[in-house]
């Protein structure tokens, strides 16, 4: 097995609040294989975004990593010196965010922000950096790149800003791209273009990618493998084709069921009852038990382990024997 692009081992993370430390991630583990896109799907409060931020240590001050490792090329990012981590950020592992307009500095031109990224890691003159910046913009589908370099983010539409963010992320052809709900804030037509762009660029460069979203349909468009996150724990992880055709975990089935489909008219959506747990809610047993229609008595007492069988992992007692 070629060396994994990124490995997350038993990641525990909590938020420090007045009422004490609230656990948000309760032992998340996965390996990202090179050249593959792993979609991390979860509802609000599942901890999907905070997990992404912890990789490059962009956590807010009140977040604390309690346990676990994040390995990149054998080195643990969590315990890396800040100067070493700085050389990984943007050059080896890059990131794009949900709100493109807010993620760009409003008082600097797009050109300045692109050139700054290039020159932070490469010893090149401003002139060459400018030329490369223009090429990057063209590569992500922005016309008249030369002129647009002089413009400010507020003169770009949401979709255009996200293209700039992608250009900035790919500036140094990183090995791993982390995309935190990159299309949630965009219209459906622009979303389709951005998803296609990410898929193309990923295949061209052969880099690995973690794609975070709350929408299974969006995940289906890009993902090679899908990990379903609930209350800070992995409920199910499987190659995309298998997960969508044979969802094993009741939560995955519930999510797929509650997603209204544009292909046919349903009389009633098989919705999951109850509400997703608030981040940090103390849970005993399987976190999904209170909302699960197949819940057994023991589901409420102990949390099921992650059963693994030919590349698929599922955390549910129902799968115990199989």
């Amino acid at each position: 097995m070629t060396q994994a692009a990124l490995t997350v081992q038993d990641l525990h993370l909590s938020f420090l609040t007045d009422e004490g430390a609230l656990p948000v991630l309760r032992g998340l583990s996965y390996t990202l294989s090179p050249g593959k896109i792993l979609a991390v799907v979860g509802e609000s409060g599942s901890g999907k975004t905070v997990h992404a931020l912890s990789i490059l240590n962009l956590l807010p001050p009140n977040a604390r990593v309690d346990q676990g490792k994040i390995l990149y090329q054998g080195k643990n990012l969590l315990s890396m010196k800040s100067s070493a981590l700085r050389r990984v950020r943007g050059r080896k592992i890059a990131m794009i965010f949900q709100d493109p307009q807010a993620s760009l500095n409003p008082v600097l031109t797009v050109g300045e922000q692109l050139i700054e990224t290039l020159r932070a890691h490469k010893r090149i003159s401003k002139k060459t950096a400018r030329k490369q910046a223009a090429e990057l913009l063209t590569k992500v589908g922005i016309e008249e790149a030369e002129k647009r370099l002089e413009e400010y983010p507020f003169q770009f539409s949401g979709g255009m800003c996200q293209r700039v963010m992608i250009a900035m992320a790919l500036a140094l052809s990183p090995d791993v791209l982390i995309a935190d709900e990159p299309t949630t804030a965009l219209d459906v037509t622009i979303q389709a273009q951005i998803l296609r762009l990410i898929k193309e660029l990923q295949q061209q460069s052969g880099m690995a990618a973690i794609f975070i979203t709350h929408n299974l349909a969006v995940a289906a468009q890009v993902a090679d493998e899908v990990l379903v996150l609930y209350a800070g724990q992995c409920m199910e992880q499987a190659p995309a084709s298998r997960l969508f055709s044979h969802p094993l975990h009741p939560y995955t089935q519930g999510l797929l069921g509650s997603l209204a489909s544009v292909e046919r008219k349903e009389e009633r959506l098989p919705a999951i009852t109850g509400n997703p747990p608030r981040p940090g809610e103390i849970l005993t047993g399987c976190p999904f038990a209170p909302r699960c229609s197949h819940a057994l008595k023991k589901c409420f007492e102990t949390c099921p382990p992650l059963y693994e069988k030919d590349g698929c992992k599922v955390r549910c007692f129902l799968q115990e024997g199989k």
Binding site: V188, A192, A220, F244, L256, K265, P270, N275
Partner: protein, 265 residues
């Protein structure tokens, strides 16, 4: 069968008076013709900035009409007196998109749902009021114990149920739903969609359902109008529209909707 809502050639232009009398005009609705039949659910689908929220504001009388007519339950709302508007409110109510912003943080659930009743002096007798409140909460599957809690103690889905209960308090004939599920998680979204479908059927409500999500529209709506830059580009019964969309813009929108490969499910 009189139509619940009739909109003819409606125009809406926002005018910003810049200094020295220079007027900056921004047309948002460019001639809308739309009819919502009684007891039917009409889906209004469009991308952000197409003017669908402005249309809701105009119908609800929050924004004045530039030109054209809007008839709500047979009453032309242009230049309507406040007294007449008050009566019209009993026939038409609204549910907004953001469950966190549409409920006053200082009101308990009891006060929130009672406000329309106090305004229109309904169920003023204490016990009748209490029973009616309980009935309303049950109709939106909320625990009666929640009556004396504050909005910040609830999740997004529960708050939207409170907003729906408040909208149903006056037993309206018409419900304007301005993207009621867009801000919710997928699992909670399904619960609210089912709830809206049951309510519409049980109470024979005519509903204008505004959304940017075709899949949600297909589940809930009888007819669908596709909106683009202030105009209705296509208007057809739902199944017909999904079977063969005629306008290029509709086709483009439909093809962009991400779908999940349906396996054995």
């Amino acid at each position: 069968m009189t139509a619940a809502l009739v909109i003819e050639n409606l125009h809406k232009t926002y005018v910003r008076k810049a200094w020295l009398g220079k007027r900056v005009e921004k047309p948002v609705l460019r001639g809308i013709d739309l009819t919502l039949e009684e007891g039917k659910v009409l889906g209004l689908v469009g991308e952000s900035g197409c003017g669908k929220s402005t249309l809701c504001k105009v119908i609800l009388g929050i924004e004045p009409i530039t030109s054209g007519t809007v008839q709500v339950a047979g009453v032309n709302i242009n230049g309507l007196s406040t007294a007449k508007w008050r009566d019209l409110r009993r026939k038409m109510q609204v549910v907004y998109q953001d469950p966190y912003a549409s409920l006053d943080p200082r009101f308990t659930v009891r006060q929130l749902v009672s406000e329309p009743l106090d305004i229109h002096k309904l169920y003023m007798d204490k016990s009748a009021r209490e029973n009616y409140l309980r009935e309303l909460l049950n109709s939106v599957q909320l625990d009666v114990a929640f009556l004396d809690r504050y909005p910040h103690e609830f999740s997004g889905g529960q708050r939207q149920r409170i907003a729906i209960a408040r909208a149903l308090a006056l037993e309206p004939q018409i419900l304007i739903a301005d993207e009621p599920v867009s801000a919710l998680d997928v699992s909670v979204q399904a619960q609210i969609l089912n709830l809206l479908k049951d309510i519409a059927q049980k109470r024979q409500l005519s509903m204008l359902f505004v959304t940017h999500d075709f899949a949600v529209a297909r589940f809930l709506c009888d007819d669908i109008a596709v909106m683009h830059q202030g105009k209705i580009v296509e208007y057809a019964p739902a199944e017909e529209l999904f079977a063969q969309p005629r306008q290029a813009y509709t086709q483009k929108l439909l093809s962009a909707v991400p779908t999940v490969p349906r396996g054995a499910l």
